[in-house]
Symmetry: C2
Subunit: 142 residues, 2 copies
DNA sequence: CGGGTCAAGTTGTACTGTGCAACCAGGTGA
DNA sequence: TCACCTGGTTGCACAGTACAACTTGACCCG
């Protein structure tokens, strides 16, 4: 396989993967869409941020984020904390329930991934992980 | 990085990638959605098949495929050819216009991929490609 | 200070992709 | 023949998304 072929394969496989990801995510975790999962994850990592930050980070419209956040709030998974300095701003934070669900989904995702990767030698795993990081780093939004 | 960490990273990066793929695909090729592109691609590869085959292959509902195909037909990109042996069946085939558009999108996707992967050494490209193939092979539907 | 402008977020509207269920039409086998 | 199977379409509902208009609050400059 030369470089040109490899690029073809990478393109093909990434496309195939992308097409499937949403559907399988929906099937595996009906309680949390891929977007919700991502937003919750970001809140956990960042320790709380504004809706606008989420929109910018994931290249989503602010209205989309607004609605997603509303849903997550209705579900009791995130809380809004008005910023005392700037009354336009509300900081979003995971609730305990949100943290719990997130952990649960992460756990089950992890199990699925581990299973799928069970027969990979460690060396291949680390190399594959590094490649993915490198590949994704070449994109604007995380 | 040990195996457990690598699995975490792979999970994280694949999730990130999946989340972004649709949006960027939509932005890059407004003339052809990711699904349409995939279906067209399959028709090209297979040299024509039935709607049911597409549904099975991509784990989509037959109604979804039916609508997508209708749209592609309206756009003049695929043609339906009734099966003379079984009047329930219609074989779908790319039209010349469909082949043209598909080639065009494939070309521009390829350029984008090449660009993103331009500074990768050939050895890394081929290894990454192999890993992706291996990873995706572990799933039911292509 | 006051008015213009900018920023955060919400809401109305529309569109796409999707699945499920009901249905139709054509084939198949007991 | 009649019951059942199969390929496909259509009606309906819903999620996720964007865009545009709007509200509210902050900020800056004259």
């Amino acid at each position: 396989m030369d470089a040109a072929e490899a690029v073809e394969v990478i393109q093909h496989e990434m496309t195939a993967f992308a097409r499937r990801a949403r559907a399988s995510a929906g099937r595996m975790h009906p309680e949390l869409s891929l977007v919700s999962y991502t937003l919750l994850g970001h809140l956990e990592e960042s320790g709380g941020c504004r809706a606008t930050d989420l929109a910018a980070h994931y290249a989503l419209d602010k209205s989309t984020v607004s609605r997603q956040v509303s849903a997550l709030e209705r579900a009791g998974l995130v809380g809004r904390h008005p910023d005392p300095d700037d009354h336009r701003v509300q900081t979003l934070q995971l609730t305990d329930a949100g943290r719990e669900i997130l952990a649960q989904v992460t756990r089950s995702r992890r199990v699925a991934f581990r299973e799928r990767l069970a027969d990979w030698p460690e060396e291949d795993l680390t190399r594959f992980a590094a490649y993915l990081e490198r590949y994704n780093a070449g994109t604007a939004a995380d």
